[in-house]
């Protein structure tokens, strides 16, 4: 082999030479790539494109709205009814439900009441990524008080075949109804009654007035689960709806007129094309009525961009509403960001003056706003927790958004509210009419995107670049470390060929990495156990977050100690270079997997993880560089090792945002509990990729 190498290297193909060039200059390449990745990430708001309605069939705003002042009057009357019922008979949640049901029936809809049992979201292992919750519901539902009841009305489309539907959701608190909730019910009712009269309807309309006594998400999710699971009349361990009414009502004469059985069977209306969650909110006043769009569902999934596009188009260009998406307010005032924006503006001016053909047009204010919106979009996607009841729909592949409408006047101002209801009603009608035109499901536009403004987005093709640049050094550095140790070993074996000690150096040659792989495997095993521990810790009664956190960390440390003691003889004889390259390989596999499951988590995680993985080296190992860079490297290493420890990074983040006195030991427990109960893959990432990687980095740092 050795004699053949030089001519082979000279003759080798371009791609091989390119690869070996990259590997031999790995330090330089990785610095370049990381810096480029960070810059690209920062430039994403500049690279955002304007949105456009991609699906031709939608034709938003091509028809005149039919929603008229008559409907507004009807809505106002309904609101008054509901609100008075809610005020008069406090605690009578069923009364409002019945009122809504009655009104639904009056406009000619099929009505039924969906009962659901409130189950607290709780820790459960093996529940990640299972789209169908398999847990059997214990059917001892004698207590109606635990049940929420949501009235559901279905309008059958005159031109449809009952196989497709559009869902309208209005959450309301049945126990303590507020004026804004009554308004959203009234708005939905007026749209619903209008839709019962129109001739163009091709998809059934389902209006779910979700009882949000136990949270908006719970009621919508349980309705969707029942909608998609077959129910059989035989499994009637459940109670009829009339029993709930009986218990809560005393009016015998009313009850006799109320035929419960008819309202009890679950009616369906085919596959759902889209769902709109409509809420009226009372926010701070602005000069125009306002729509806030929330779109993030679980694990960073987004609805099809076309749905947001039509809402935005109709709201801005037809109804003159002000559309907003989630933004981080504190970033808007950040001096650093403003400075960066100004610098960018100056740079682009300079570039434009050099070449008049370039029209970059970067505006500092736009940049700051785009960054704040992008950060919020990325944060909520990375968290993996839905931002509203629309999240429940995405688990069944239904595109859904939450629209929070807020009027410019106060909620009690009749004139202001009437014009607000007119605009909002027309908006909802327009959106429904557009979706009604849809021939297939939403597929034309993007599913993977970030919003930088209501009408600007960054698609997957663009934001992937930043991540790819950040992650690209990992395999290169792993290969470089691996090949360097292989070369060194072959040199040493050639130089001292005499059998020095009889101790069997078990695997020679290219299998040398097995020793390091054993350690990496053990650490990942430990991380797996640690990630499952909260389930057992949460079983301990009478604990608060601090004690839970303490018991979690203590038990993890104990397990770590036991594992290292048990396998002490098993894991030895590795070089730190090989260990580092195996660790980097594991980290890059984890990161690329996570980028497919939830891109934002991987992106945020890689910013911490990649520099830590790339820079780590034993503190006691001397480096052949001048004293200053060596010291800098050491300091950076220690700093990263501290910052990248998950609880520490959470504490630092919280300290920066809310002041350092608010930090608590239990914070990390609360955070991970929050992620776990929402089945967020971010928890898995932190526990199974980030934590073992951090531990191995510390292990390498302390290696001697």
């Amino acid at each position: 082999m050795e004699e053949q190498k030089p001519p082979a290297a000279r003759k080798s193909r371009l791609i091989v030479r390119l690869g070996s060039f990259l590997v031999s200059h790995s330090a330089f390449v990785s610095v370049i790539c990381c810096v480029a990745g960070c810059i690209t990430l920062l430039l994403l708001p500049v690279l955002a494109k304007n949105t456009y309605v991609s699906e031709n069939a939608l034709m938003p705003g091509s028809a005149n709205p039919m929603f008229s002042n008559q409907d507004v009057v009807e809505a106002n009357r309904f609101v008054k009814d509901i609100y008075e019922t809610g005020i008069l008979k406090d605690g009578s949640g069923m009364e409002i439900a019945r009122l809504i049901g009655k009104h639904m029936e009056d406009v000619g809809a099929e009505v039924y009441y969906h009962k659901f049992k409130y189950r607290n979201l709780q820790f459960h292992p093996l529940c990640f990524f299972s789209s169908i919750p398999r847990t059997a519901v214990p059917q001892n539902s004698s207590a109606c008080t635990l049940n929420g009841v949501s009235p559901v009305g279905i309008i059958r489309a005159p031109r449809g075949d009952g196989k497709e539907s559009i869902v309208l959701v209005t959450p309301y608190n049945s126990e303590n109804i507020k004026l804004n909730e009554a308004l959203s019910l009234g708005l939905a009712y007026s749209v619903f009654s209008l839709l019962s009269r129109v001739v163009w309807l091709a998809k059934d309309i389902v209006w779910l007035a979700a009882d949000s006594r136990y949270g908006e998400y719970t009621s919508v999710a349980s309705w969707l689960k029942d909608y998609h699971n077959p129910t059989f009349s035989s499994d009637s361990g459940k109670i009829g709806i009339e029993m709930c009414f009986e218990k809560t009502e005393n009016h015998v004469e009313e009850q006799s007129s109320f035929d419960g059985a008819a309202y009890d069977d679950f009616k369906r209306a085919g596959t759902m094309s889209a769902a709109l969650v409509v809420k009226v909110m009372d926010k701070e006043r602005s000069e125009r009525d306002r729509v806030d769009i929330y779109a993030e569902a679980s694990n960073g999934q987004m609805p099809n961009l076309d749905l947001i596009n039509i809402v935005h188009y109709l709201a801005v260009h037809r109804q003159g509403l002000h559309v907003r998406v989630g933004t981080f307010g504190f970033l808007l005032n950040s001096a650093l960001l403003k400075h960066v924006g100004k610098t960018l503006q100056r740079l682009t001016r300079l570039a434009e003056s050099l070449n008049l053909g370039w029209k970059l047009g970067v505006n500092s204010a736009d940049f700051v706003e785009g960054t704040a919106t992008l950060a919020s979009s990325m944060y909520y996607q990375a968290l993996g927790v839905p931002t509203g009841p629309h999240g429940a729909f995405r688990d069944f592949q239904i595109d859904a958004i939450t629209m929070e409408l807020s009027p410019r006047t106060s909620l009690t101002n009749d004139n202001g509210i009437s014009s607000f209801l007119l605009r909002s009603g027309r908006l909802i009608e327009g959106v429904i009419r557009s979706v009604n035109n849809l021939l297939e499901k939403f597929h034309q536009s993007f599913f993977l995107y970030f919003l930088t403004a209501p009408n600007k987005f960054v698609s997957v093709g663009v934001y992937m670049i930043a991540f790819a640049l950040l992650v690209a050094p990992l395999p290169i550095v792993a290969a470089a470390l691996f090949s360097s140790t292989a070369n060194a070993r072959s040199l040493t074996t050639i130089s001292n060929n005499k059998p020095t000690n009889s101790k069997p150096v078990t695997r020679s040659g290219s299998w040398n990495w097995l020793h390091s792989a054993k350690l990496v495997f053990l650490v990942h095993l430990w991380a797996l156990i640690v990630s499952l521990l909260p389930y057992f810790v949460s079983q301990i009664p009478h604990t608060n977050s601090t004690t839970s956190m303490l018991s979690w960390s203590l038990s993890s440390l104990l397990i770590l100690y036991l594992l290292t003691r048990l396998t002490k003889s098993y894991v030895e004889g590795y070089q730190w270079e090989v260990l580092k390259s195996v660790m980097i390989a594991a980290a890059s596999i984890g990161l690329s997997l996570m980028s497919i499951i939830n891109f934002s988590t991987a992106q945020v995680g890689s910013i911490l993880l990649v520099p830590m993985c790339l820079m780590v080296r034993p503190l006691k190992q001397p480096i052949q560089v001048p004293i200053f860079p060596a010291a800098l490297l050491k300091i950076l290493n220690i700093l990263l090792a501290v910052v990248a420890f998950p609880p520490a990074s959470l504490a630092i983040l919280k300290g920066c945002l809310r002041g350092f006195e608010s930090i608590n030991i239990g914070d990390f427990w609360e955070w991970s509990e929050f992620l776990w109960v929402w089945n967020s893959a971010t928890y898995l990432f932190v526990a199974l990729v980030h934590l073992p990687c951090w531990y191995l980095c510390v292990h390498i740092l302390l290696h001697n």
Binding site: F129, P499, R507, G509, S510, A517, I589, L593, I596
Partner: protein
Amino acid sequence: MAGTRWYWPLVWAALAFRLLLVPFADNLNLGSRPEVATPLTSLRRLAEGYWLKQSSLSPYTGSMYHGSPLLLIILGPLTVKRIESQPAHLCCSLIFVLVDFFTAMLIRAIGEKLMLTNCNNLKLLKPSKLVESFGGVDAADIASLIYLWNPFTVVTCLGSCTSPIDNLMVVLAIYGACSRIVPLAAFGWVMATHFSLYPGILVIPVLLLLGYGPDAPPPKLFPQKHSNGDGSLVHVFSWGPILQFALWVVIWSCYVLLLSSISLKGFDGLYDMLKKTLGFILTVEDLSPNIGVLWYFFAEVFEFFRGFFLIVFHVNILFMVCPLAIRLMHRPCFLAFVYITISATLKSYPSVGDAALYLSLLGLFANELAEMKFSFFLFCGYIGVSLLSPVMHNLWIWRGTGNANFYFATGLAYACLQTVLVVESVSTMLNHDRKLKKELKKT
């Protein structure tokens, strides 16, 4: 050698680990994973076939069951047996745990045979340097431990599919041939072929094993050192066992066909069975996604090209049989490993059970393949692909944000990995032989 001391505890631990996971098998939902259960091996389909047969219909009615009628007799009654509040296929899972144990033991026995012959051969070649060169690891223990602890095997064992039985038959054939128990070899080969057709090409390594004996360095090396009768005795092709093997193959095949026809009496009979089992494998009727590459291709291809491409794809496997047999004639066990890997790459309904088998056979050659290149790359690749494949499937089927190409990409990557594995292992083996020759020349 840590392997020998820890061997039995590790074996028992592996079995205990399986038994521990068996009650949770339903929760893990492995039986419906396309990576684990294929239309040929799925136990759910077998239960369906058994149910059809119980209601006096042919088990091949519809397109549910495509396995052997013998499996239906053995495993069928177990699929309906339910123990209170236990997962559905508990009895079958327990049987598969046993089957895995037997397979591991057989692999170990094969490894010991190989090591013994290797030792003898080295003694013949260079008695002086025996101690130094025979300093490797205990390949037999390693191979069987790889089989028992490979996550693929564990998943296959728990995933309620019949691949463990297929694997056992293949290993049985190789073991029988290695230790020259001709009836056993013939039985293993006939059953393996009957169950999944592709092990049919293993007839060449089995014949070579019976004729020449287990793996040895190239025969050219021997006359150089030992021109006397002692050395050349090793490499004379013996026709006796071959004829015996042929006889036994005929006997066993007739027996299997007879049993099948008895079990299918009253239904369409043997021709229908062959059409629904072997025909199903060869014509790739079920295009539901799996980790192979054929489903995607045949979902896309025009109907009138289908026959042509079916021939092309299947000849692809046969194409490599002869050249490899000529080149690796002196190492029949390794040849068997290469054949199994190739057929696992190109077969119509592959699953991770096939990978479990060939990866543990790879362990048998741990000493010879010590210098293998890209081992780390392959290791990372296997881990990456096996994690990526479920995620892509989830993205496609459950989330709806991906499409078939996403999932097929992982299948393609997996096929590439297997190809790299075959190429690298064969070239390393040939290099090993070359090195041996060079060393002999030096002395």
